[in-house]
């Protein structure tokens, strides 16, 4: 379960729920378009995840987002696919933990 960066700061489960669901949507979207030529959208989504993951208490999302951005430079589709699977597992796992706590 993710915790906020600031210890004094607790994020409401509702907001975490929406955040994780949106990331799952993002991952689905990326997996669907990865074989198309529109890689710019994946780059943008990865960039956003890099920027917001840690703020919501999910440093792993920021870390994977950053790795995807790097792989985008080499257009390493295989590596990106692997990272998307890894991210998907992580987000689903976190989401399940959140639901369990609710």
């Amino acid at each position: 379960m993710g915790t906020a960066y600031n210890n004094e700061f607790s994020i409401t489960p509702g907001l975490l729920d929406r955040y994780l669901q949106r990331r799952m949507d993002d991952i689905d979207f990326c997996q669907n378009i990865i074989k198309s030529d529109d890689l710019q959208k994946i780059k943008s989504i990865a960039h956003n995840m890099k920027g917001n993951g840690t703020s919501f208490g999910f440093p792993e999302i920021s870390s994977i987002g950053k790795e995807i951005e790097i792989c985008m430079q080499d257009k390493d589709i295989v590596a990106i696919q692997g990272l998307l699977f890894k991210l998907s597992d992580y987000v689903q796992n976190e989401y399940a933990k959140l639901k369990k706590m609710a």
């Binding site: 960066y5 907001l15 929406r18 949106r22 960039h47 890099k50 917001n52 703020s55």
Partner: protein, 482 residues
């Protein structure tokens, strides 16, 4: 965090990720912030254009729909230059940060957001904004003291004074500035200094009525060590201090006759002698003088040297009283209100009734009285809108005792207080001489019947003191205008 006037701190967030906006809200709202978030910059612009809300700081993401954060900042700074902006970016590329700051952002923060760090940056941005606001007010105040900016003076009468000040700024001639107390004689003097060839040279001002005569001589000319009791050190006088700049002698009409003689000598010879020294020192400063007195009358009354009067009155500049240039009352009032609002940590504005009311007050004390009144109002008014009821009421301006006191004080300064009959006669003659009054009206105003007025005027005409009376009449007239 609260603003200086204890209002919630207003934060504008423009970020394409709605969850991140909610995250920022959920961090800052419990901490007393008023947060408005927009995931679309166009919606933010639309909201800002309504003008219903202003912000203390804006937090703008680099990646936005419809435009980049940099583009948004460029547009935002045109319309809201006073609101500091922080750019958020997940990009560690320094070029974006540099571009953002060049576009007008105060600073940038790197995502993921570290809220404690962000709070510190926000706090710094707010302090900057506060300093900028205060600086703006100070600058306006200083500029107001040293120059006539258009927003300060709207009247044609003051524009004429400004034009004259500009025309004479590069001359070396002596200037004599006339104006009632509080009209801004020093403002004119400083403008002459600021706009002309003297602008990079010293401007030294002294109020001749504020310093006892024996000290004034030492102030103006300096003194040698041990030249009198208490002269422990050699002192450079203001003439020397002014160098090749400007020496402004305020209230020159209050200078004693003996100092008038010394000043005349200085103006003629361009040399001074320090008190207690025999050596003459060349001086090169330009003299600007000012008075609220009618110096012609002072000359007639024997209190001011005629030769000095002519020496000073090379270029006379007359500043009209505030009541004769009512167009200036509103811009001046608003300037002073901005200044004192900031000083008191308030955001105050006048409503229309208050401004109308201010325009119709007599302002015997001119701009200085207006400034003092607005300072008092800014301190006492709960705000944010100042109404007539928050301003001193008209009856406060109609206290005859105060008026008479102001009128009589110059007479008290004379060596011998004039006898009652002399003053009474001068007053009757003055009222009767008003061009807009018939003798019937004059008699009615004076509370005497018409026949009594005629009799008194006839007595005055045949009086052996007619000349003396005329002088006193003019003197009283002069004082009335002060």
């Amino acid at each position: 965090m609260k603003t200086q006037n204890n209002d919630p701190f207003k934060l504008l967030v423009i970020e394409d990720d709605p969850e991140l906006i909610q995250l920022i809200e959920s961090y800052y709202k419990p901490r007393g912030f008023d947060v408005d978030g927009f995931s679309d910059p166009l919606l933010a612009q639309e909201s800002l254009m309504t003008g219903k809300k202003t912000y203390d700081v804006a937090l703008v993401d680099l990646n936005l729909p419809h435009m980049t954060g940099i583009e948004f900042i460029k547009k935002f700074k045109v319309d809201y230059p006073h609101i500091p902006i922080l750019l958020m970016t997940a990009d560690t590329n320094i070029e974006n940060a540099v571009e953002a700051i060049e576009s007008g952002a105060y600073d940038y923060v790197v995502k993921p957001l570290h809220f404690q760090q962000l709070s510190l940056t926000l706090k710094r941005a707010v302090i900057l904004k506060r300093i900028q606001d205060e600086n703006k007010v100070l600058k306006e105040t200083v500029d107001g003291r040293v120059s006539f900016d258009n927003y300060l003076f709207k009247s044609q009468k003051m524009q004429t004074v400004l034009d004259l000040a500009k025309r004479i700024a590069n001359s070396t001639s002596t200037v004599l500035i006339y104006g009632e107390s509080g009209t801004g004689k020093e403002v004119v003097a400083r403008t002459i200094h600021k706009v002309g060839k003297y602008k990079d040279k010293p401007f030294i001002a002294i109020n001749c009525s504020a310093i006892p005569e024996n000290l004034l001589e030492s102030e103006l000319f300096g003194h040698a060590k041990g030249s009198f009791t208490g002269a422990f050190e050699k002192k450079i006088g203001l003439f020397e201090e002014a160098g090749d700049g400007i020496l402004f002698l305020d209230e020159i009409g209050d200078l004693s006759l003996s100092l008038q003689a010394k000043l005349l000598r200085v103006l003629q010879d361009k040399k001074i002698k320090r008190v207690g020294e025999n050596k003459y020192i060349d001086i090169d400063s330009r003299i600007l003088a000012a008075t609220h007195k009618n110096l012609k009358n002072e000359v007639k009354a024997g209190r001011f040297r005629e030769d000095l009067y002519f020496r000073l009155n090379v270029i006379p500049v007359q500043i009209p009283p505030l009541r004769e240039r009512k167009e200036d009352i509103i811009p001046l009032s608003q300037l002073f209100l901005r200044k004192f609002s900031t000083e008191n940590g308030k955001e105050l504005t006048f409503n229309k009734n208050a401004l109308d009311y201010l325009c119709n007050l007599p302002w015997q004390g001119n701009v200085r009285e207006l400034e003092n009144m607005i300072e008092r109002t800014a301190v006492l008014s709960p705000g944010p809108e100042i109404d007539v009821k928050d301003l001193p009421q008209l009856e406060d301006y109609e206290r005859p005792d105060d008026d008479y006191r102001t009128l009589f004080l110059p007479l008290m300064a004379r060596k011998k207080i004039p006898p009652l009959e002399e003053i009474s006669n001068a007053y009757i003659a003055f009222i009767a001489s008003q061009a807009d009054k018939t003798k019937e009206q004059a008699a009615s105003d004076l509370g005497i019947d018409r026949k009594t007025l005629y009799r008194k005027l006839l007595n005055l005409k045949t009086s052996s003191n007619a000349d003396n009376f005329q002088n006193n009449k003019e003197e009283l007239n002069g004082h009335r205008l002060q």
